[in-house]
């Protein structure tokens, strides 16, 4: 394995490490459930992507062939991540998870929970407390 490969692999691993770290840091630092949802679903795609790319280059450099399993992991990740985020947000709305007070349009959650369009005026229970 020559120096060129080693440099590229190390750079990719460092970038991946930074992004995955920031993603987990976001989980700890952000203040409510909805904002926390943003950190792991996004900051990890590039992070994991570069780690997987590094692993692909490593196999190529040492074994001499390209593994495609890694591409499949990326594919499944890209398919599942948005679905999981969507379902988590949906569940959070139904459980009336607390949000930070400066969240704008908080009253929309009441409508969204009932799958009503934002223009609807009827069908929202009057005593529905804001989360």
């Amino acid at each position: 394995m020559n120096d060129m490969f080693e440099i590229v692999i190390s750079v990719l691993l460092v970038i991946g490490g930074i992004f995955i770290f920031v993603g987990s840091l976001g989980l700890a630092r952000l203040q409510d459930f909805y904002t926390r949802l943003h950190a792991p679903t996004k900051a990890t795609t590039v992070g994991l992507g570069s780690v997987l790319l590094a692993s692909m280059i490593y196999t190529y450099a040492t074994e001499g062939y390209i593994t495609v399993n890694v591409l499949l992991i990326t594919l499944f990740l890209v398919i599942t991540a948005p679905v999981v985020a969507h379902i988590l947000a949906k569940v959070a709305m139904h459980h009336q998870v607390k949000m930070i007070p400066r969240t704008r349009n908080r009253e929309m959650v009441k409508l969204a929970r009932k799958q009503l369009p934002p223009t609807a005026t009827t069908g929202v229970e009057e005593d529905g407390r804001l989360p």
């Binding site: 996004k42 593994t67 399993n69 948005p82 969204a112």
Partner: protein, 163 residues
């Protein structure tokens, strides 16, 4: 669309994914992949909900590229927001009116919205006319977010399906 191969595209992609999973091109795996590619669509076909066709499949690639670039931008943006002072983050909800009608285009749009800059799709109204989105950092003007998503993503998806 013959009786034997109800979903030709799925047959081919099942074969490719099977070969990728096994990481080999040996005749045995190709044969097994082909059997799976024929049998699985036959079994699944009655369960299928009809979806609109990709009218312009070539546009899918340019769309995928656009989204890929935006995903990388989104990662950097969100990373900077996470590392910066948390008082700078102003989250909010916004309802985006939809022009798309069918389930598959809306799913594509919702997934794209979740993957890209600071937005997560949260709920779809039951009449399929609005999608609720949680925005990590809302600009002063909410309309900016709506316009961005509508012009950048929804217009492209509409072109792909030509609906």
């Amino acid at each position: 669309m013959s009786k034997f191969l109800p979903m030709p595209f799925h047959t081919v992609s099942l074969l490719i994914v099977w070969l990728m999973l096994n990481n080999s091109l040996s005749p045995g795996h190709i044969l097994l992949g082909m059997v799976l590619g024929v049998v699985i669509p036959l079994v699944c076909q009655p369960l299928r909900i009809p979806q609109p066709k990709f009218k312009r499949p070539m546009k899918l690639f340019s769309y995928a590229l656009l989204v890929l670039i935006d995903v990388i931008k989104a990662n950097i943006e969100v990373a900077l927001l996470v590392l910066g002072p948390s008082s700078r983050i102003n989250p909010g909800f916004v309802a985006i009116p939809l022009d798309l009608q069918e389930a598959l285009p809306i799913t594509m749009l919702a997934s794209t919205v979740t993957m890209t800059p600071g937005t997560v799709s949260a709920e779809l109204s039951s009449d399929k006319k609005f999608i609720y989105v949680h925005v990590l950092n809302m600009p002063e003007d909410e309309q900016e977010v709506v316009d961005f998503i509508k012009t950048r993503y929804e217009a492209n998806i509409k072109e792909i399906f030509e609906c």
